[in-house]
Each structure stands twice: as structure tokens, then as C-alpha cells.
């Protein structure tokens, strides 16, 4: 369920980057305050464990498929939310860079979807409510399963929201939701059961690993955390709500995104040249700029009038030009290569 760069607009990607960067900064501060620097190597090595754990697959009876351990929830249970969030962020960074899972612009989204919900929503609100300070086998199992399922459901829902707000895919909101949620319910169930089983295993053999995380976290529930959570959730909701509203007025969303998510630096240049751009485009447009802000509903409704009659002449020149540009790109590459060979 990794978001990909190709499906995301800079406004959404930038907003999620800001939220994620804020969380990383906050968690890092929290970790630094923690005098126990034993945690830093532990986090890194457990992050590597998440990769290694995916080597071990069990067979799901009847279906013929196989399942393995997911990431966020087990980390939250073993490390507590702050350290777990940082670890999850680094796991996803490695995946983005090496496995091209997701992408750099979408990394903010992915860290938020797969890290924020297990660590800061499912863990404090579900796992800790069920387990309390004195865990028993039963509460541990139920808490781990439920929180893993809920965390993944929320994450999947946000994938849908981010895709729809980006407006690059034509998938309507309802279809996408119906597609994503049940699939991730099944995945979440498998993840929940495996997480619970591993937590039980640890609990039976080394209960002292689980106990300190539970007790320490309850004490340090600071007000800053609540403020930050409220801020992040508000950003998302306000940004989301306003963009729905604004979808009828394409320029409104631009405005809403600027005001709520603070992504000026990504978007400002576009806004500045917007008017000159418009006039330029009338002369040059091969595919007239349709703006990336509109949602697909709007597009299909308005498509008829918005598109001027297609002028085959400009289309051809665009096509020819595109091919030429490609050739030039290859040519430049070869010149560079020749030059390099000459130098050597």
C-alpha cells in the first residue's frame, strides 16, 4: 500500500512531508531527552529486523498464499511510539531508495500512513487502552491484533484520500475505498495475528522487554503530544475538507492548500507566473494546461466545453517536437559519453 510519486501532486506530497518532518523532529527531540541511549542502536537493529522478518513466511491454510509480519505495530509495542515512528520512517526511507517502493515525494505520505497511525493512533488509543499497565496474555493478544487492524485500515483510507486529492488518477473516491478497505482488512488481520503471536512469544520468555515500555509511556504523556496531534489532524482535516469544497473552484484549492498546509515554497513559483503562463499557453499549448487541482468529477463534467476544438496542426507540432526532444536527450547523452571517453 505504498503511495507512488506518479500518483501524487506536490501539494499533497508537500503537505504530508511537512506533517511527517514535524513528527520526525518531535520524536527525535523526545528520544534525545530520553537518557537511555541504548535505544538508538536498538531502533536501528529492529528496523533491520523488520526486513529480515519478511524472509520468514508462513502458509495461510486453504488460500495457498503466505503471510508475514508487518511493521509499525510490533515496533510500537517493543519501542514505544516515538522510537517506533522514527524506526518506521527509516524502514520506509530504505524501501523508497533501494526498492523504489513508493518514491521520494510520496515518502512523506508513506511515513505518515504506515507510521503515524500505528504509533500515534492505534498504539495509544487501542493497544494501551486494552492492555493497561499490567498486561496479561489475553489483553496483549487482543490489543495487538485489534490495533494492527485499525492502524492499517486508517493507513489504507489515507492512501485513498491522498490519491483522490492529488487528482491524477481517475478512480472515483467510492470505488477506490471499496477496493482498498476490504483488501487491507484481510492484510490487517494477518498482520494483527502475527504481531499478537510474536508479542505473546516475547511475553512468555522475556516479559521484562514489554513491561518498561508500557509503564514509562504512561507517565510521559505530555501536553505537547496532544497539541501536536491536534495540529496534524487539523491540518489534514482542514486541508482535506477545504479541497473538497474548493474542487468546484479550481483556484480555491490552491489557496486552501497554501493556507492550511504551508507548502508555499513548493508552489509559490507556479502561482507567481500563473498569469503570464496562461497567455503563453494559449499560443503554445499542445495539451492545454488543465491545472492539476481539479478532481476527476469536475473534469468529466466540464470536459466538453473546456476543451477547445482540437487543432490537428498543434498536435502534430507537439508530437514532432516531443520526438525531437527525446532524440536530443539521447544525443546529449552520447556527446557526454564521447567526451568522457576522450578524456580517459
Amino acid at each position: 500500500m505504498h503511495m507512488a510519486d506518479a500518483l501524487i501532486s506536490p501539494a499533497v506530497g508537500g503537505a504530508m512531508w511537512v506533517a511527517t518532518a514535524g513528527l520526525i523532529g518531535y520524536c527525535s527531540k523526545k528520544i534525545k531527552e530520553d537518557i537511555d541511549d541504548r535505544k538508538i542502536p536498538l531502533m536501528g537493529v529492529l528496523g533491520a529486523f523488520i526486513f529480515a522478518a519478511q524472509m520468514i513466511n508462513f502458509t495461510i491454510p486453504v488460500t495457498g498464499s503466505s503471510g508475514h509480519l508487518g511493521g509499525g505495530m510490533i515496533l510500537a509495542i517493543l519501542l514505544g511510539p516515538y522510537a517506533a515512528f522514527l524506526t518506521m520512517a527509516s524502514v520506509l526511507t530504505v524501501q523508497a531508495l533501494f526498492f523504489a517502493d513508493g518514491g521520494l515525494l510520496a515518502l512523506g505520505c508513506n511515513i505518515f500512513n504506515l507510521g503515524f497511525f500505528p504509533c500515534f493512533v492505534a498504539y495509544p488509543l487501542i493497544y494501551k487502552m486494552i492492555v493497561k499497565k499490567r498486561p496479561t496474555a489475553k489483553t496483549l493478544a487482543v490489543g495487538a491484533t485489534l490495533s494492527a487492524i485499525v492502524g492499517l485500515q486508517l493507513g489504507a483510507f489515507f492512501v485513498v484520500l491522498q490519491t483522490v486529492f492529488s487528482g491524477i488518477s481517475e478512480l472515483p473516491f467510492s470505488t477506490f475505498v471499496i477496493l482498498m478497505q476490504p483488501i487491507h482488512l484481510a492484510i490487517g488481520f494477518v498482520e494483527g495475528v502475527t504481531t499478537a503471536a510474536v508479542v505473546m512469544f516475547v511475553w512468555k520468555r522475556r516479559p521484562e522487554i514489554l513491561q518498561p515500555v508500557l509503564s514509562s509511556q504512561t507517565d510521559s504523556k505530555s501536553s505537547i503530544q496532544k497539541v501536536l496531534m491536534a495540529f496534524v489532524i487539523a491540518t489534514v482535516i482542514v486541508g482535506g475538507g477545504l479541497s473538497w469544497f474548493a474542487s468546484a473552484h479550481p483556484d480555491g484549492l490552491e489557496w486552501a492548500m497554501f493556507k492550511t498546509a504551508g507548502v508555499e515554497e513548493l508552489e509559490a513559483p507556479e502561482k507567481g507566473i500563473h498569469s503570464t503562463l496562461a497567455t503563453l499557453q494559449e499560443k503554445t499549448a499542445f495539451l492545454p494546461d488543465y491545472g492539476f487541482k481539479k478532481t476527476k468529477m469536475h473534469d468529466s463534467e466540464e470536459g466538453g466545453q473546456a476543451w477547445p476544438a482540437v487543432d490537428p496542426g498543434t498536435s502534430v507540432s507537439g508530437f514532432v517536437g516531443g520526438m525531437l526532444t527525446l532524440c536530443m536527450a539521447v544525443l546529449i547523452g552520447f556527446i557526454v559519453k564521447r567526451k568522457k571517453a576522450a578524456n580517459v
Binding site: 537493529v45 513466511n57 527509516s90 481517475e170 488543465y290 498536435s315 507540432s317 552520447f334
Partner: protein, 270 residues
């Protein structure tokens, strides 16, 4: 299991590529990281029908690949592996958006196909840019750039930890899986109880290992920082790289270069 082992092989291979010594390899990681981010933002900010504007951006990955002699087929293969998600989400576009948009010759192409093509093109561009970054810089280089760019210390430190122990732990896990499969002749799948035992053992071993590592590091004076013995300098070459590429991206983003060239050519011949 094979997938992860392949990934491990991939990482090693990319790290080998990153140890090259071309001019691009030696460039300060910060310049490459920032340029890549600008590139991705510019590509992603293009509208969903603007294929012609997207084409000039191909120059960046292509030029880097050729100039630093990265294996292009290998990169294409890696991109193909992760393509399914983008295809899955994009493939419905042609069926939902059937408004004719472009006419080439007598054939008209619907907006859906155009936006599908733009999704695939932007997927190829963004993924290749990220892969090239890592193939030219290496993971530790990227981490150092992050640290210099004031990304919080604990995050960077444990990112490097993760990367260092990725190999160790994946190998340990694969030894365990291999040992089990050698001792179980008939049962091909792994039952859930056995799975939990294996995973739990691996987890406990991992935590013990983390403790040993920490003690060893404390003995050597660890104070929460990793000190890397590699100097970085953001000099003239880096500036030139960053600014010339950024200029090109900005030009390609705001001027429809292919159409300009196309109309010039047409005006010349017709």
C-alpha cells in the same frame, strides 16, 4: 523469501555501482539529493494531460545514466518490478475519461489514455531519479547529506544502523529458514506455530545483538553521534550541477519546449 534475498543482492549491487569514481560519483551528496528532489517536485507538479512538457525531463536521468555509465537495463528491470501499483491505479483512467483530447492523423486519443500515459511517464521519471541518486551516491552518502542538511541526529544515526544491520539480520533469517527447510522433508509450507517460534527467536536474538552492539559502542566512546571519516565540500562543481539542472527543470516546467521546437521545425519546412 527469494524476493528478499534478491533485494539484498540488489542493494549490494547498487552499493557497488555507488562506489564508482566518475565526476558525478564524486559530487557532494547534498547537490545530488537536492537536485533530485527539485526534479521530482517539478515532474509531479505537471498537470495530468501535459505529456509534451514532461518529455524534456527525460534528459536528466538519461544524461546521468550515460555520463556515469550506469547499467540502463538493470535500472529498467528494477522499475518494472514496482510498476504494477501505478498501472493498477492508472489503468482505469482510459475507461472513465473518454473525452477525445488529441488528434494525430485521423486517430483521436481520449483524455484517459493521455493521463494514463502521463502517469506511467511520471512514474518512470520519478523512480529512475531516485534509483540514480542511490546508484551515484550510496546510502551512507545520502545519510551524510541528510545530517548536513540538519535532519535530526537520532533519525540519521539509526537510519545508518538499520542499513548496517540489514545485511546481518537478513542473512541470519535466511540461515534459520534454510536450516528448517533442510530438516523438514515433506511439509513444504511453514506452519503458523513454527513461524512464530522462528520469528520470536529471531526477535530475541536481535534484541540481544542490539545490546551487545550498544555495549561495544559504549566501550569505544559512543555519545549519540556517528563520526564519519569522509569530508564533504560544496564547491564550484556542485553549484554548477545544482543550478544548471534546476534552471533546465524550471525552463521545461514553464515553457513547452517540445512544442516550441516542433513549431520552429514546421515553420522551416512548410
Amino acid at each position: 523469501m527469494a524476493a528478499i534475498e534478491n533485494n539484498l543482492f540488489d542493494i549490494r549491487y547498487m552499493e557497488t555501482l555507488a562506489s564508482g569514481s566518475s565526476t558525478l560519483h564524486r559530487l557532494d551528496p547534498r547537490a545530488k539529493l537536492i537536485t533530485t528532489l527539485i526534479f521530482i517536485c517539478m515532474v509531479a507538479s505537471l498537470g495530468k494531460y501535459e505529456i509534451s512538457r514532461m518529455v524534456p525531463f527525460v534528459i536528466y536521468p538519461l544524461a546521468l545514466i550515460i555520463a556515469s555509465e550506469l547499467p540502463i537495463l538493470y535500472l529498467l528491470k528494477k522499475m518494472a518490478i514496482v510498476a504494477p501499483f501505478a498501472i493498477l491505479v492508472g489503468i482505469l483512467n482510459p475507461f472513465i475519461d473518454t473525452q477525445p483530447l488529441v488528434q494525430i492523423g485521423g486517430v483521436s486519443i481520449s483524455g484517459g489514455w493521455v493521463s494514463f500515459a502521463s502517469i506511467m511517464l511520471r512514474f518512470a521519471l520519478t523512480v529512475s531519479a531516485a534509483l540514480i541518486l542511490i546508484c551515484l551516491t550510496g546510502f551512507n552518502g545520502v545519510c551524510m547529506a541528510l545530517e548536513k542538511l540538519k535532519v535530526p541526529g537520532p533519525f540519521v544515526v539509526q537510519l545508518m544502523f538499520l542499513y548496517r544491520y540489514l545485511f546481518v539480520l537478513i542473512e541470519e533469517a535466511s540461515r534459520m529458514v534454510r536450516a528448517r527447510s533442510l530438516r523438514s522433508f515433506d511439509s513444504r509450507g511453514l506452519h503458523f506455530n513454527v513461524f512464530v517460534q522462528l520469528l520470536g527467536q529471531l526477535l530475541l536474538r536481535t534484541m540481544d545483538r542490539a545490546q551487545r552492539i550498544h555495549l561495544a559502542m559504549c566501550c569505544r566512546g559512543f555519545d549519540g553521534h556517528l563520526r564519519l571519516n569522509r569530508s564533504m565540500a560544496f564547491g564550484y562543481g556542485e553549484m554548477r550541477f545544482l543550478f544548471s539542472w534546476s534552471l533546465l527543470f524550471v525552463l521545461a516546467r514553464w515553457y513547452n519546449l517540445p512544442v516550441k521546437i516542433g513549431s520552429i521545425i514546421e515553420g522551416f519546412f512548410l
